[in-house]
Symmetry: D2
Subunit: 352 residues, 4 copies
C-alpha cells in the first residue's frame, strides 16, 4: 500500500539502532539513508556502528554508507526518523524541516513547541492536524512531529481511559526506570548493580509536563494544556528494558466502585484501531488482573514491545485509585512510538 | 552498667542470625539461650544454623545448645528477643509473657494489640508506658513490646520531624524493597534478577496502618491512632539490603518554603539522645543534600545500619512536599530496631 | 508433511512450559495431551500452571485438561516429550516406553543407559540407531531418547568440529550457568544477586561424562565412550538465560596455527543440514570474532535460542587452545534440543 | 611505634579513595598530602572528589588541599602510595623516586621492571631486597615497589602453599571479575546487568605473567621468573567486589591424596606472621570446606578484605587438582595490598 523511503538521523546511537531493527521488515517504510556524526560519515553502517541489539545487524542496513545529518544528503527520502541526541537535535531537525523533509523525532527539543504535535496515536491522534500550522518550510512540505519521553508514554496511555470516563484531577507518580533509558554507555554499573539511584536529571520535569499536553485539546494554532497537576519522582532501577510506574490518581467524577474503574480500562476503545497500522498493538492498554503483574522482564516485550500494561488497580486511601503501569521504554517509549507516529501520518496522508 | 542475659527466639532464621551478629559484642546484653524449632533443638547452634551473614558465626553463640521455644528452657534470661515467624509467634510470645519473661518482638502478631507498644525509640518513646497496662502475667513481670514493619520504620522516622513542625495531613508512598526483606530462601531469583515485582503480599496494609499508631498519642490504656490517611504501593526490587521509599506528604500547616521543611529535619532533636544508648545512631534521621543520595547499596549501612536517610527533599505539585527515605530493613527495620527497643527499656528500668 | 500428535510430561514445570511455548506454532507436532502431577490432573492447563514465560500462554494449550502421567491417558499421541523432574522421570518414562509410546526426554535418568541414545542431532545423529536395540516394549514401538545436560550441549557441539579436525585429547572447562538452569523457584535471590556461587550439585559429574558418550561411536548394542578426560567446574552466575563456558582443550593432532583451528569451525559441515528440520539453526556452531562476544544476554537467543556460539578462540599456554562457548540452556540445552531430536527422529521415520 | 607521613597519588580516583578509607585510622601512617590532576589541584579534597565509598569521607582527609602530582608538593611525606592510572603513572612515579621519595604503587607500569619488586608480603617478602639495587635516585632514598594485578594476588597466594609443598607445573585459570575492578565509571551497566562479558582488555597477559615473577627467586640484581605456564581467561561478571577464580593446577610432585593437598593449605605458615603488621590477616590463605563457599558477596570482606579464600578443593581429571579462590579486588588486590607492602617495608626499615 504505502511505500515510503525513510532516513534515520542519529543512526549509530542506541535509539537509531532500535529504529533500524524495528524497520528491518517493515511493510511500508524502507530505509534508504542513514545519518550520523562526521566521525561516522563515509563508512558503511556495519563499520560505523557499535551494534548493541540482541539480533543481528539487519542486512538491509549494514552496507549503507553513512552520511552526515545534512538535508542535501537525504534527497531520496520521503521523511526522516530522528534518534538524535538533544544536544544537536534542535538545529539539525529544523534544517530538515526547512528543507521540506518531514521529521518524526524522538528528541525532546520540539516537544513543547506550540505548533509541533507531541503525539501518541492512541491518545491524541487529532493533534496531528497542528502540522498544517507549521511554517518551517515555505510550502509546508517540511514539518516536525515528536513523541513524548519514555515515562509519559505509559502515563498518558494509562490516564487516557480514566480521563475519558472520569476526568483526571491530580496524579502522583514514581517511575522506576530501566538502564536502557539512559542510552549507551549510560549508567555506570557501579552505580546501579544491586542498587537504586533516586534521581534522573531533568526527567521529572518532562513527566510533570508532557501528559498535560498529550491530554490537551487542539485550540486553533496550538494545544491547550490540561491544568491537572502531576507530581513525579524518577528513580533508576537495575532492570534492562521497561519503565514501571507506581501511579496514584484523583478523579473529577468519583467512581462508585473499583469495578467501574476496571471497566473504564477494559471498555476503552482504541481510536485508531480501524486504521490497522502495522505497528499498532491489538490491546494498546491492557489490564492485568494477577497481583504480581506486570513486570518489566516478563511483560515489556508483549505485542512487540508496543503494549502498555496496567496492573494492581485498587482503591486508594489518599487519592481515588492506585495502579502500576509498564511500557517498553526504547520501543513503545521511543523508536517504536515514533514509527507508529509515522504510520499514523502516512495513513492520514500527511506525506506528499 | 546494665548486664542482662537475653534469649533469642527463632535463632536460626534470618532475623535470628542478625540478632546474634549484632549482639556479638554488645556492652549490656549477653546471649545465654537460643530457641528454635524442634528440629534444631538439642544441636549446637553452629550445627543447627545455615549461616547466611557475611561475618563469621560469633564464637559466643556457636556452641550454645539450641532449645525449643518453651519458657521453662529460658529460666536464666532477663528477657527474650523474638525473631519468630508470624505463623508461630502469636502463641509462643504469649507463653513467654505469661511466664513472666518480657518479649521484645520483631513479629507482626501483637503490633496492633491495644496494650502492646509498637515502638521506635526516636519516634514514640513515651508509648513504652503501655507496658504497665498489660496483663499477660499476674504480677506484670512478663510483657510484649514490638517494633514496626521494615517500611514503617523509615516512614515514621522521616514523618516525625515533619509532624512535629507542621502536622501530617496525608501520605502517598511507594516502597522499593530489597530481597532480604523476604527472608531466606525468600524471593526466587528468576522473579527478581533484572526485574521489579509490583506486589508484596500483606505489606501495604501494614504500611498504611502502623505509622498512624506510631505517631499516635497515649490515651489511658491504649494508643489513639492518628487519622491521616496513608496510601502505599509496595514493590520488590533487586537490591540486597535497604528499603528505599518515595514519599509525598501533605502537611496541616503549610510551610513557607522548602527551606523551612529542610530546617524541620536538621533542627529536629532526637528525644532519646541524652540516654546515650549503645545502638543509638548519632543522627537518627539524616538529610542528604546530594541529588543522587541516599542509595541502598551506599547508605543502608551508615551508622551501623541504624540511620534513616532522607534525600531529594523538594516542593510538590500535588502534595506539599516530596522526598525519598531509606533504612536498612534487617537492621534498623528489624533486629537492630528491636535491640534499640531493648536498650531503651533497660535504660528506663522496665526489666526487673 | 509430518503431522504428529504429541504429549508433554511434566507440562506445568519450567521445562514443560518451554515445550508448550516452542510448540505453539510447530509445523509438524500438535500438542494433544498434557501430563502433570495428581494435584494438577483434572484442571484446565491455564488453571493448573503458574506460567513464567514472557509470552502469553498459547491458546492451543490453555484449555487442555491436564491428566496424570499415565500411558492410558495418552492414547492419542504418537510420542511424548518429557520435562519431568528426575525424581519421578525414571519410572514414568519407562512405563510409557513399555506401553509402546516413544519418549523424548530431557531428564537425566536414562542418559547413561546402554541402549538409550544421548542425542544432539548435529553431533551424533547416527546414535539414533540404538533405538532399534531397546527392549522396553515387546514390539519395539516404545523407546526412549534423551538429550544431554545443558552444559554438555554447547560443550559437545563446540568440541565436535575440533574432534573432526584434530581429535580431542583433554578438556578443562568452567561453566558459568544462569539461574533458569535451576528451574523455578530454583536459586534463592539472596544467594545470587550480585554474587557467584561456586558449586552446582551433581553438575560437574554430568559435564565430565556426557560429552564422552556424545562423541563416542556406535558399537553393536551400545556406545563406546571416548576416553579423553574432562575436568569441570560449574558455578552459578546472575544471568537469566544462557550458560557461558570457558574451555581449554588439548588436541591430538597439533594445529599449525590458530587460523587452522578457526577454519575447523567455519568449514565444519552440519551433518543434518540437508534434512532441513524446522528447529534446525542455519549455523549450529557459530564463531564470533569480536573479542567481547558471545554474551549471554545478547547472544543466547540467536536463531531462536538454537545456536551454539563460540568466541575468544586463541592459542593456549598450557593446553593447545582456549575459547568460550554459549548456548541457551532452556532452549538449545533442554526443550528446544528435545524438539530437534523429535524432528530428527520423525525425519528418519522412527515414529510408526 | 612507626609514625610516618604518607602522600597519596591519584587521590580522587577509585583506588585513591580506597587508600583514604583504609588509612583513616591507621596506627602507623598519617595522610599528609593528596595529589591528583591539575583540574583538582587547589581544591579541598571534599570538593575535588566524587566520593563513591560506602562510608563517610574521613574527616582527616576532607579538608586537605589537593596538589598536582609533583614531588616538590610532597616535601613533608616519608613515602607515597600511588593509585595513579597507568596512562600517567610511568612518568610521575619515576619523578618521585628520582626526587628521593619512595613510591608504593598499585599501577602496572613498573611491575616487570628488573629491579622493581612485585610484592605480596606473604608470598615473596624477600623480594624487597631488590630495592637496594635500584638507581632511580643518587643515594637510593627514592625507589619503587609494586603490587600485582588484582587477579594475580589470590592466584599467587593460593599457589604459594602448593608450590612450597609440591612445586607448580602448570596452571589453567578462569577469573570471574567484579565490576569495581574497572574503576569508575568503568563498565557500562547495559553491558553487565544480568550478563557476563568474556573479555577484559590486557588482563590475561598480566595474569599469565605476574605470578611467575611473584613465585620467582632473587637472583643478584633481578628476579628469576619461574617457567611454569599459566593459561588465563578473564571475564567480567555482575558482582560488585571480589574476584573469584576457577583454578586447575598440575603439580611437580604428585600428592598421594587430596587430603595431602588440603594439609598443604592448612599447615602452611605465613612467613611474615611474626612481624604482626597492622593490616596482616590472621589467616592470609583460608581453606573453606563448605561446597558453596567462598562467594564474592559473602566472603570478600573477611578479615577487612585482606583474606584470600580457597574452596572446592578436589582431585582433577586433567590436571592434578582443582579449586576456586577469591580475594577482594580493590582491598587485598589493590589499596590494601599496597598498604601491607608499606607496612612490611616500614617494619624492615626501608624508610629512612
Amino acid at each position: 500500500m504505502k511505500n515510503l523511503n525513510v532516513g534515520i538521523l542519529g543512526a549509530t546511537g542506541a535509539v537509531g539502532q532500535k529504529f533500524i531493527r524495528l524497520l528491518e521488515t517493515h511493510p511500508w517504510f524502507t530505509i534508504s539513508s542513514l545519518g550520523a556524526s562526521k566521525r561516522s560519515a563515509g563508512k558503511k553502517y556495519k563499520q560505523a556502528v557499535h551494534w548493541i541489539e540482541k539480533t543481528e545487524l539487519p542486512s538491509n542496513a549494514s552496507d549503507i554508507v553513512v552520511t552526515e545529518c545534512i538535508p542535501s544528503e537525504f534527497a531520496d527520502v520521503d521523511f526522516v526518523f530522528s534518534g538524535l541526541d538533544s544536544s544537536v537535535a534542535g538545529d539539525i531537525e529544523k534544517s530538515f524541516a526547512e528543507a521540506g523533509i518531514p521529521v518524526i523525532s524522538n528528541a525532546k527539543n520540539y516537544r513543547t513547541h506550540e505548533q509541533v504535535p507531541l503525539l501518541v496515536p492512541e491518545v491524541n491522534p487529532d493533534h496531528a492536524e497542528l502540522i498544517t500550522k507549521q511554517s518551517f518550510s515555505k510550502n509546508g512540505d517540511g514539518w516536525i512531529v515528536t513523541n513524548p519521553n519514555c515515562v509519559s508514554v505509559p502515563l498518558s496511555m494509562s490516564l487516557k481511559p480514566l480521563d475519558d470516563a472520569f476526568g483526571i484531577e491530580a496524579v502522583v507518580v514514581t517511575s522506576m526506570q530501566s538502564i536502557s533509558g539512559a542510552g549507551y554507555p549510560g549508567v555506570a554499573s557501579l552505580d546501579i548493580v544491586a542498587n537504586v539511584v533516586p534521581y534522573i536529571g531533568g526527567e521529572e520535569d518532562k513527566v510533570e509536563t508532557e501528559s498535560t499536553k498529550l491530554l490537551g485539546r487542539v485550540n486553533e494554532n496550538s494545544i491547550a494544556y490540561r491544568d491537572f497537576p502531576i507530581q513525579a519522582t524518577a528513580v533508576r532501577v537495575p532492570t534492562v528494558d521497561g519503565h514501571l510506574l507506581s501511579v496514584s490518581v484523583s478523579l473529577e467524577t468519583k467512581p462508585e466502585s473499583i469495578d467501574e474503574v476496571r471497566k473504564a480500562f477494559t471498555d476503552w476503545k482504541n481510536p485508531i484501531a480501524e486504521l490497522d497500522l502495522p505497528s499498532s498493538p491489538e490491546t494498546p492498554v491492557r489490564l492485568y488482573e494477577e497481583d504480581r503483574h506486570p513486570q518489566p522482564r516478563l511483560h515489556a516485550d508483549r505485542e512487540g514491545g508496543m503494549q502498555t500494561a496496567v496492573g494492581r488497580l485498587r482503591k486508594g486511601k489518599v487519592m481515588d485509585i492506585g495502579y502500576v503501569t509498564l511500557a517498553h521504554n526504547t520501543i513503545r517509549g521511543a523508536a517504536g512510538g515514533a514509527i507508529l507516529n509515522g504510520e499514523l501520518l502516512a495513513a492520514k496522508g500527511y506525506f506528499k
